[in-house]
């Protein structure tokens, strides 16, 4: 395992803090009913997107799932355009057409997101195929949940990616729940990474809340992919703190206990990384991030709403 530099670790922490505070600002303002879009909170998962994207180049591409705020920001998506999108504005990253589940930033390599579970798994393999055809050493990454691996397309895609040795990395964010159903009620053999092995490719399970670990495992996968040695499935164990969709916790529903959540929070992404930074640094980072966020909210709120249904050249 390589020695990560203090600067690099600080940077990882900074990014995770950005993701966390951006979503906390959504939660804090959601009741104002200006963000009319179903938000799937990433809080608790931050180490996955940040650790993975830290191992990627700008010209690598990602195809996140609907729980995409974190991925969009970790890959370098524009914060203002994201907040504007959540506010349904013309200046939003999807010009107000997509909302929370459909963030995109092509320049940053955020190529497309879907509200359909497992919807983008095959897209990433297609992007990787394009890189292979063009003999580019770029990599495509897709993120999805543990539930997504129950959809047949997950296996169809692993088989093809493995067969063709495509430069694609499959990131499964295993938070053990699909909406409010536990994985034990859905999967006969819940070690998801093992499916990679039966498809003849590399599969590993790691602590998804350990940002350095995620980074290092991804770096290995990226190196293999760029060398033409094929795809990797990384099963990152993590936990969703808020309700499946929305800005509240849901311990009252009874499908999980607050204790369980507390245990996971104790080993959460920021908690595990807290010695990457000093308190002073955190304070300064927070101030800096909060400034960006309030600027983004001002931008969003002062932006116009989209006003036409049919763009230039779209047949009515």
């Amino acid at each position: 395992m390589v020695q990560a530099s203090p600067d690099f670790k600080r940077d990882l922490y900074y990014r995770m803090l950005l993701l966390r505070k951006a979503e906390e600002s959504i939660i804090a303002n959601y009741a104002q009913r200006e963000m009319r879009s179903p938000p799937h909170m990433y809080i608790g998962h931050e180490a996955v997107a940040v650790g993975v994207c830290a191992a990627l180049r700008k010209d690598d591409v990602i195809f996140p799932y609907y729980r995409s705020h974190g991925w969009y920001l970790a890959k370098g998506g524009d914060l203002k355009a994201m907040m504007a999108e959540l506010h349904g504005r013309e200046t939003g990253c999807s010009h107000g057409w997509g909302g929370s589940m459909h963030l995109i930033d092509i320049a940053a390599g955020v190529m497309g997101t879907s509200a359909i579970v497992a919807g983008t798994i095959s897209h990433a393999a297609g992007a990787a195929l394009a890189f292979k055809i063009r003999q580019q050493d770029r990599v495509a990454v897709v993120s999805f949940g543990d539930g997504a691996t129950e959809e047949g397309v997950f296996h169809e895609t692993l088989n093809f990616a493995s067969l063709r040795k495509l430069p694609v990395i499959f990131i499964c964010e295993n938070n053990q729940y699909a909406t409010n159903t536990h994985i034990r009620d859905r999967q006969a053999q819940p070690e998801i990474y093992r499916h990679a092995i039966s498809h003849g490719m590399t599969g590993v399970r790691i602590d998804g809340n350990n940002v350095l670990g995620v980074y290092e495992e991804t770096q290995k996968a990226v190196d293999r992919a760029r060398r033409g040695e094929g795809p990797t499935l990384i099963e990152a164990m993590t936990y969703r703190i808020f309700e499946h969709c929305g800005v509240f916790t849901d311990y009252d529903l009874g499908y999980r206990t607050e204790e369980e959540a507390k245990e996971w929070q104790a080993k959460g992404p920021l908690e595990q990384a807290k010695d990457f930074v000093t308190e002073a640094e955190v304070a300064q980072m927070s101030a800096d991030i909060e400034a960006q966020i309030s600027e983004a909210f001002d931008y969003a709120r002062s932006s116009p709403f989209p006003s036409v249904l049919f763009a230039q050249g779209v047949a009515q």
């Binding site: 349904g88 879907s114 409010n180």
Partner: protein, 340 residues
């Protein structure tokens, strides 16, 4: 009782009355119980009859078919109709073919309960309503209840039916109150309902456009136009007789659908009426449908997207104005005399 409670009530009655009736779906044991429509089913009927599936809609649909060959009547529940697209191979290549392909020896009594979303920026992938797709293919029936009474009656009829039935349920009806008998009853599949009598124009509506047509009819009445409102209830097989009978009386037709136009149910209504009652038509029929573009997320364009009572009213005025002109013409001509 509320629309959502009517669905729950029907589900309980069907499952209590017939041990072969089961529930299948993704997230149906969720404590939220599909917006309360399934509350208590797991506790009452257990995991063998309230079958939580993995995220595998296609396989689950196929399992409904296989179980059906042994006499099981499954209600497959989808939180959003958009997800039914993952099951088209089983639904259209298999379930819809089983009766004919085996010379009437097999029947697949399955109900596909599909919920349609709208609003709060749900966006292009969570707001579709594909009743036209299911109405096109032989071997499937499609129903769209618009009130609590029919929500129960059509669900029970769908469960009793020996062929696949797609039961399309609009989420914003869930809260609607209505008179729902506690007793078991059926709303016949394939029968439309004349929910308001009128003589000048027939407003034929599908799903959420039914209340919009009622609003429009009210407004039209104030302008002295008597509109008849028909809730098709079943989009296939379509109750052409009832619609033609109405148009034969009114001579004018406006069709309102909560879907896109091309190859849709609104166009089907117009085509069927024109074929069968052309001579009765006094003006060109009009359809009020979605603009032919994806459903946008932002509230500002969503407001531009969905047509409603106002558009229906305007269309009705348009088709009626032609009548008035003619009437006018006639009356003036009647008064004519002399060579000037």
């Amino acid at each position: 009782m509320k629309f959502r409670e009517a669905i729950r009530n029907a589900t309980f009655q069907a499952m209590e009355g017939d041990p072969n009736v089961i529930l299948m779906g993704v997230g149906i044991i969720d404590p939220r119980a599909v917006w309360g429509t399934l509350s208590g089913t797991l506790e009452k009927f257990g995991p063998d009859r309230v079958v939580e599936g993995p995220l595998a809609e296609d396989a689950i649909t196929g399992m409904c078919i296989g179980a059906a060959t042994l006499g099981i009547r499954s209600i497959m529940v989808h939180h959003r109709i958009d997800f039914v697209l993952l099951t088209m191979n089983q639904l259209i290549n298999h379930a819809a073919k089983w009766r004919d392909m085996f010379g009437q020896q097999q029947h697949v009594p399955i109900v596909i309960r599909a919920v349609v979303g709208r609003g709060w920026g749900n966006g292009p992938q969570h707001t579709q309503s594909h009743h036209a797709l299911y109405s096109h293919v032989p071997g499937i029936k499609t129903v769209v209840p618009t009130n609590a009474y029919d929500a129960k009656g059509l669900l029970l009829a769908a469960i009793e039916d020996d062929e696949p039935v797609v039961y399309i349920e609009h989420r914003w009806f869930h809260e609607d109150e209505g008179e729902v008998p506690e007793a078991y009853y059926l709303t016949p599949i394939g029968k439309a309902a004349v929910i308001r009598e009128g003589t000048d124009v027939s407003l034929v509506a599908v799903g959420p456009m039914v209340p919009e047509c009622q609003k429009a009819a009210q407004a039209l009445a104030e302008e002295g136009i008597s509109a008849e409102v028909i809730d098709v209830r079943t989009t296939h097989p379509l109750d052409v007789e009832t619609i033609v009978k109405s148009v034969a009386k009114t001579g004018r037709l406006v069709v309102a659908d909560s879907d896109w136009g091309p190859c849709g149910v609104a166009g089907e209504v117009i085509a069927a009426v024109t074929e069968r009652a052309f001579d009765a038509l006094k003006a060109a029929p009009v359809r009020i449908v979605w603009p032919h573009i994806c459903v946008p997320s932002s509230q500002s364009i969503e407001a531009l997207f969905y047509p409603g009572a106002a558009e229906i009213q305007a269309a009705a005025l348009k088709v009626c104005s032609q009548m008035q002109r003619r009437a006018l013409v006639e009356s003036t001509i009647k008064g004519l005399d002399g060579p000037f």
